[in-house]
Symmetry: C2
Subunit: 445 residues, 2 copies
Amino acid sequence: MNALRPPKYERSYTYRMSALRIGIAGLGTVGAGVVRLLAENAELIATRAGVPITVTAVSARQRARDRGVDLAGPHWHEDALALAADPDVDVVVELIGGSEGIARQLIERSIAAGKHVVTANKALLAVHGSALADAAEYAGVTLAFEGAVAGGIPVIKVLREGLAGNRISRVAGILNGTCNYILTVMRTEGKEFGEVLAEAQALGYAEADPSFDIDGIDAAHKLAILAALAFGRQVDFAAVHVEGIRAINALDISFAEELGYRIKLLGIAQETAAGVEMRVHPAMVPKAALLASVDGVYNAVLAQGDFVGSVFLQGRGAGAGPTASAVIADLIDIARGTRIPVWGAAARQLSARPALPISAHRGAYFLRLMVVDQPGVLADVTAILRDHGVSLESMLQHGRKPGEAVPIVLVTHETTEAAMGKAIAGIAKLDAVLERPALIRIEPS
Amino acid sequence: MNALRPPKYERSYTYRMSALRIGIAGLGTVGAGVVRLLAENAELIATRAGVPITVTAVSARQRARDRGVDLAGPHWHEDALALAADPDVDVVVELIGGSEGIARQLIERSIAAGKHVVTANKALLAVHGSALADAAEYAGVTLAFEGAVAGGIPVIKVLREGLAGNRISRVAGILNGTCNYILTVMRTEGKEFGEVLAEAQALGYAEADPSFDIDGIDAAHKLAILAALAFGRQVDFAAVHVEGIRAINALDISFAEELGYRIKLLGIAQETAAGVEMRVHPAMVPKAALLASVDGVYNAVLAQGDFVGSVFLQGRGAGAGPTASAVIADLIDIARGTRIPVWGAAARQLSARPALPISAHRGAYFLRLMVVDQPGVLADVTAILRDHGVSLESMLQHGRKPGEAVPIVLVTHETTEAAMGKAIAGIAKLDAVLERPALIRIEPS
């Protein structure tokens, strides 16, 4: 007897169902993209999935709006929550967004009703992912979310399946295209943050209210998801240290270039002897590092496994096409019968390793001060660093302007965040130090 | 009734089996790596797979050899074929290699005996992959081969699952680490092919008989597999046009640099209106292209999908750790119950689009001639190109040495391989042309 022998393909796909019937909640850019992809590649998808994937129901706010796709066939529900109860829907595709409200209710009810759920909702997964995974496990349904992180790059699948034999020690990614676009243009055009943000807003690359992106929250949602998958741990958004890019200026970008670095907003999840670090912040990356060359609206993820070594993935991180591609991949997985626990392992088997506060971080730092150019300033600054055990790798100062404000850049050897924090508090109190010191963490890759 | 509802995780994994029992044939570098990975990450793998993965049987040529791993537990079969009949083996892991002989027999018998098969054998998959897929489909077992292409990079999974919603138009990859290492060292150290090959052999980066790698055959096996997955087509190694890197010299590498290109051995599968192109050859890639920056023994794959856009993957393409990582990913998939047709669709649904001969290729070309530096040579050469409808984008000649041999480089606009072939035949016959012209295809990315 071979306990593992699966049902034959023919039997399992063709006979068990004649189509995978989906209901889509939310027909914005991504929702319309999903409908369009399913229509344009219908034959190819049916071939790969083993059965056709058909949209039997939809729900969105404005029924009359022209979305450029044919919506004559599916049943229209005024109330998105009705999708959870629609007997003609096998899978609910939630593309409404937001960590609370309708999106959350719809997913909870769909799972409870025994329907599979596919979503691109990173906020919801980051905040309520554990409870939703428990519910999905209990109900025996799939909760899939490839579209939630890095758009079309299949990073969820790569971490949860492709690298599943590895102990992952670190995942670092460029996870927010808006921030990466702004930082890229600041560097290539030498402009300041505010100016580039305004241009990005005019071009539609940044939202009217951009804080979700530029304050790092969107990247932190995604990082929380990647960390949960990489380390087999409950998703833990509250434990992610988050800093955005508002404080980055043209001066520090040009110093970075001079020192051989690029400034990128990175999401980093790292396992150390003490626990798990999860942080989103601007970082200096050596120019030769793979992540340093990812420009514009591209996203990328670098994962480090104990047997596989480094694996690097790059692609378009947002937009209708890439995100629809990810949603369809999840739907094809479901049609093919693939069933994998939400966070890569059964809930009771997830790791209990502690999340570490940012104060536990160890690394090198870029420190830029604006000081009055007068004798003794550097001696005072370096004395404070020495008193906190921080040693310097290099120092940069251009020209001299006695009595005027000049920037001084200090690059430290590896030290602790706690020591740096205390040293900076001391440095900021010096009379000759004019502004709040700029501190940017340096990442090796 | 919900026809799609899967069995609950607990029920399907824990109750149906207590372990996934594997038999390994071949205990070379990769086989020993698989044993070591399963031992070192046993707990993590059991958590992710839902059950422990245990090695119950092995077979290799020299039983006494110390492989640095504990082999006291598994049953030792003198005859690898006995693994196919071992009732304590659920999955046969074939790591013997070779497209014929024991490896092929073992896989055929294992499938016929209802066992799943995991292999890293690209030659066997490329040559007999269609027949083996038919057999696996009939028997209802999985035939998995993530380790066969690009080592630890999960490119099989990405193409077959992660990008499954897309019509893939092109896959281009650096698929052979030996060739990429040799070309990288030739460029960075300015050395000739023979010298670098000898060094690579001394360092163990190239085999004593290197022809399998440097003549492009290994890359062609891998490309045939990627093409089958990307286009949902029968694997078709015989239709792959193959050229290796023996003819690449330091002169052309330095001309490439000057023109803004890097020379890489690429495997390219491309869909055109007429059919499918599959080719492995040295190519000039713009320095800014992602594939141009992949140096040394790294592998990389760039896939282009209609909705996802470009997705780029890079990682270590060979070695015990990366290949073992891929083999374990396949085993975890099997333990989790994932069952996907070998080539991404049922055999009867694979595409019948024709494979195109290299003469149908359209592209730009780098052409380097060694000519006697005398009046009228260039006029003769350009007249022949014009007569075959080939127009030039640029021309390079350094200095003048009247009466001596000098290189002339011509870069064409897009034209057809057939036209280039005829033009070169004519050019080679000119008295002033001293050697066989060097022709290198230019790829846009």
